[in-house]
Amino acid sequence: MQHSENKLLQVKAMKVHFPISLGIVGRKKILYIKAVDGVSFDLAVGETLGLVGESGCGKSTTARGVLQLYRPTEGQVFFQGEDLCQEKGEALRRKRQSMQMIFQDPYASLNPRMTVKDIIDEPMRVHGIPENKKERLERVLELMKVVGLNPTDVHRYPHEFSGGQRQRIGIARALSVRPEFIVCDEPVSALDVSIQAQVINLLEDLREQFNLTYLFISHDLSVVKHISHRVAVMYLGVMVELAEKNELFAKPLHPYTQALLSSIPIPDPAVENQRTSIALEGEIPSPIFPPPGCRFHPRCKRRKKICSESAPSWKEVAPGHFVACHLVGN
């Protein structure tokens, strides 16, 4: 993806910290969970950026920070040129119309007491577009067709649908207010293999049809490789590598990315039996007390003295290929 002027989103050194207080009396000791600790990236119009990493690395928090569902502690989030972190109230609410989200669990993210019509209609009602009730119903029916649902099912309830169909309802809901940017937070993880492919294809079609921009979060690297243009890898609240997808999968530079990619099982015994995976030592450290220097250094096989002393900077080692590692690019 070329880096042109039409950047939809620019995130600069965003941090999201959650305070935790210890002790019953006085609630004295305030510590911070540094869920996201300084990430920077941008997204061009029509692009899909894949965000990968293990559970607890801050992928979802990053996305929610961008959407201002958690207000970032520090940093800036420019959406269409305006810093969302400075916006609030009505102004922010109006911005939200162009930023929607698709959730992981199609069972938990749909209100069981609302019909499909009410679910898809709700965002339009909230934002008052279109104001006319009849027009909104027409749009609901049209959206159902777009996402591959049968419009005659409009008065049914979520429990009458399968997992894949429910995810389609969630997608129709996100599309209803004609957003430009959609965060897809593990949209296919809860679905069965044969259904996953259907939903992935649908998301790709919709992107082309409506010129959408996706931030696509997943722990499944095969899915991310398929759907994204560029891929960013996160570890313990920071980004460690970001590159065009084929480049990242072919030439991963960060030791963590290398370990992560080597551990993906391949559905082909001939390839699988040849695969050697790099085992990581130890466990992911706590985001309350992240290790000094490079956050990955306690588990890195190639660590040097400098790795525990200073945090590596985020540098562009090849056009569009960013990495944060002392061992790379010097």
């Binding site: 259904i195 790709e204 992560l260 099982p265 559905p267 082909d268 015994p269 001939a270 995976s277 992911i284």
Partner: protein, 333 residues
């Protein structure tokens, strides 16, 4: 690993297994008249989507299905010569956890949160192997070391919440292996874990089972997980086995349209991304409702016809060791 299936007697012999659940809303036929065998020391992968009956099949073997509402029927359900359906609950307990043991999907909910790791391990070993302290503790430490847990002595005093998901699953494996089982059943053992841990756990299960000479059954929806760690694979769909063959053969030449479709629909990291993913249209049938008389896959099948709709395809040995249940394939060959 070579499994010469003809000259060995199966350790688990299942014929005509049928499992129904009688529920308020109707009868759910979760497993529909399936037959298979598991041979000593072999590693079998069972692949299918949720609701295809893969877990219920093996929960029935363990007799862990609640009866009622469940009902297990089989012509044969024999483990090492014993008819499992004829055993009393007490006799079954002698086998469960001892000779056939199980590792579950979610290591958080399958360990008791208020008991230490040591206590939970000792409970099993005491019951089946009748060991006493200090041998009991030695055995626990030995097992934890085997599954790759550092400082095993200290870990015995830990509670499940103090361990990460990967460590908890290692503890579950240690418990499952504690009585040197003949069969180790692993039901989605890595689904709740991160990619980097998944791989380690799968390899651990396989290598430990190999050392013990135990047969393993890996139940999963992930074709990647079974590719490197099994000898043979059974693919299930809507309560039926649709294809069964050696692992290399299944990936090289899948015969059933469902298996072919599934394998094509998985995005792969080792290949250049295609423009469009292949996808199987529709969704699996609802087993609560009346199924068609013929093949359950017919509604989604690209090659099926009217004949498939009305006639149930039998399991046919298409090539030596490669069984498939499809009219289109069996007739073509």
């Amino acid at each position: 690993m070579e499994t010469a299936q003809t000259d060995k007697k199966p350790i688990l012999d299942v014929d005509g297994l049928d499992v129904k659940f009688f529920l308020r809303d109707g009868t759910l036929n979760a497993v529909r008249d399936i037959s298979f065998a598991l041979y000593p020391g072999e590693s079998l992968g069972v692949v299918g989507e949720s609701g295809c009956g893969k877990s219920v099949t093996f929960l029935s073997v363990m007799r862990l299905i609640q009866v009622p509402p469940g009902k297990i029927q089989a012509t044969t359900l024999r483990f090492d010569g014993t008819d499992l359906l004829k055993l009393t609950e007490k006799e079954m307990q002698q086998i469960r956890g001892n000779r056939i043991s199980m590792v579950f999907q979610d290591p958080m909910t399958s360990l008791n949160p208020v008991l230490t790791i040591g206590k939970q391990m000792k409970e099993v070993i005491k019951l089946h192997l009748k060991l006493k302290e200090p041998e009991l503790e030695d055995r626990c430490i030995e097992l934890l070391t085997k599954v790759g847990i550092s400082e095993p002595k200290m870990r015995l005093g830990s509670y499940p919440h103090q361990l990460s998901g990967g460590l908890r699953q290692r503890v579950m494996i240690a418990i499952a292996l504690s009585c040197n089982p003949t069969i180790l059943l692993a039901d989605e053992p890595t689904t709740a874990l991160d990619v980097t841990i998944q791989d380690q756990i799968l390899r651990l299960i396989r290598s430990l089972a190999k050392d013990l000479g135990a047969a393993t059954v890996l139940i999963t929806h992930n074709f990647g997980a079974v590719a490197g760690t099994t000898d043979r694979i059974m693919v299930m769909y809507a309560g039926k086995i649709v294809e069964s063959t050696s692992t290399p053969d299944l990936f090289k030449e899948p015969l059933h349209p469902y298996t072919r479709g599934l394998l094509k629909s998985i995005p792969r990291v080792d290949k250049e991304a295609q423009e469009k993913l292949f996808s199987i249209a529709g969704a699996p049938p609802d087993l609560m409702r009346e199924l068609v008389k013929g093949c359950a896959f017919i509604a989604r099948c690209p090659v099926g016809d009217d004949y498939c709709f009305h006639h149930l395809p039998p399991m046919v040995e298409n090539r030596p060791g490669h069984f498939v249940s499809c009219w289109k394939v069996s007739h073509a060959a």
